[in-house]
Symmetry: C2
Subunit: 268 residues, 2 copies
């Protein structure tokens, strides 16, 4: 039987965005094998209902479990805010979600307690982040804003475009009015707009991209559960998507800053 | 056995947009029963691959056939440009696509032969409209532009917003340069941006929204195949969606200009 420690880390996202988390995981644990699954046939999750997001997330996690991963990272905020517990209950594999890292980081970084949260429509309307942060910081004053145009703008390649600048101004107006001092970038695509968002809010505002702290959590979990790989060689990266592997390969390089060689189609 | 003529017209779209076609069908045949299916759990289709669009369209058409519709209208340009023939072959029910009406209308309206086509990324990159129009008008000079931001902008309610105005300017720049005289609005959402598009291109340019000619085609087909309803009473309208019936009911009213009372969930 294969040593459990030498199995892959499974990362799941609705599409491409989770590659930013994979990049952080790769930096934190450069010798681990990684198996990434993007549910590109059904993306985006951010405009779907809670039931459907849960169903899709469970099906995607099931695929990772079938591949024999040693741990699952839910890199998608929408999926993690709706279905983290369900996935934890459903399979006998440790599961961590990017949302958990995000909450930790917000709690550590918030100074005045005036906190902004940006996310998809589904993430914001679930109230997940708001409730979890208030549970830890009952005095917090939270302003949560759904930004449905950010993902299509990033996917159109408009990361520095005047249209995106205007959209950032429009969406962030309530955050400026409330004078928040810390803003959670609660969707994997949003860190790509970090410089425009920072420019709009000013340098005194801390922007939180939980990819790095998610990777740190993962490293601690592997340590704690004795699941760290002992190999020091070049690791294997496998990519599966439910639609259009070639498009994933091309766009994926931007998110990962690493040339993806092969992507396998896996319709769910 | 029920009279075939008294069965419903089935209309299919990836989401809400097809309701603009349903509105035209309602006007053209006010006493026909209509059954609408929106595949909201997997929208949008416009950024998916050809194979996946074909699979989703066949599954959706199969649902309509199971409901016993007398004819299928594929109201979605992306689905119709990728899978019209497949659906026609797969089921023993007449099928018409919004794309067919669109091509007819472009051929009739084009004056100088300088034609613009706007559509989703999948519709434009399939080359379907370009080939079909060139087949009928071999001298045509076609400029085809994919406009992936239009659907999210409409769904954000930004139909008259400065951000949308700027996006329209950006996308239409090549059409202005080419001095097209007729532009196909090749996605069901785009007619909602008609006034901004017209303002940008000027009044001398003809904008083509094929919903009305699609309804005319349908009326002719029902006549020709002796499938016209003979009833004169209040017709029944049924709505099914693969995700989030309540959201569909709320947004749907805007597209249909008619209060939708009940929507049934039908996960595929």
């Amino acid at each position: 039987m294969t040593d459990k420690r030498e199995k892959s880390i499974g990362i799941f996202d609705s599409g491409f965005g989770g590659l930013t988390v994979m990049k952080a995981v790769k930096n934190a644990r450069p010798h681990e094998h990684i198996l990434y699954f993007g549910d590109t046939a059904r993306l985006p999750y951010g405009n779907k209902s809670a039931d459907t997001i849960q169903r899709y997330t469970l099906e995607s996690a099931h695929f990772l479990v079938e591949q024999g991963v040693k741990v699952i990272v839910i890199a998608c905020h929408t999926a993690s805010s709706h279905a983290l517990e369900e996935v934890q209950k459903a399979f006998g594999v440790p599961v961590i979600g990017v949302t958990f890292a995000a909450i930790e980081e917000v709690v550590n970084q918030a100074k005045t307690g005036k906190i902004g949260i940006l996310g998809t429509r589904a993430t914001i309307s679930s109230g997940f982040y708001q409730q979890q942060i208030l549970h830890r910081l009952p005095q917090a004053e939270i302003t949560a804003i759904s930004c449905p145009l950010f993902v299509p703008l990033v996917e159109e390649g408009y990361v520095e475009h005047p249209i995106t600048e205007m959209t950032v101004q429009e969406y962030l107006r309530p955050l400026k009015r409330k004078e928040v001092d810390c803003v959670l970038l609660g969707c994997t695509h949003y860190p790509l707009l970090q410089s425009l968002i920072q420019k709009e809010l000013g340098d005194s505002v801390t922007l939180i991209d939980p990819a790095t702290s998610c990777a740190t959590h993962l490293r601690n979990l592997l340590e704690r559960m004795d699941l760290k790989s002992n190999q020091e060689g070049i690791p294997g990266y496998q990519f599966f998507v439910s639609d259009d592997p070639e498009k994933f390969r091309l766009i994926g390089n931007t998110f990962l800053s690493y040339p993806i060689e092969h992507v396998t189609a896996k319709p769910l």
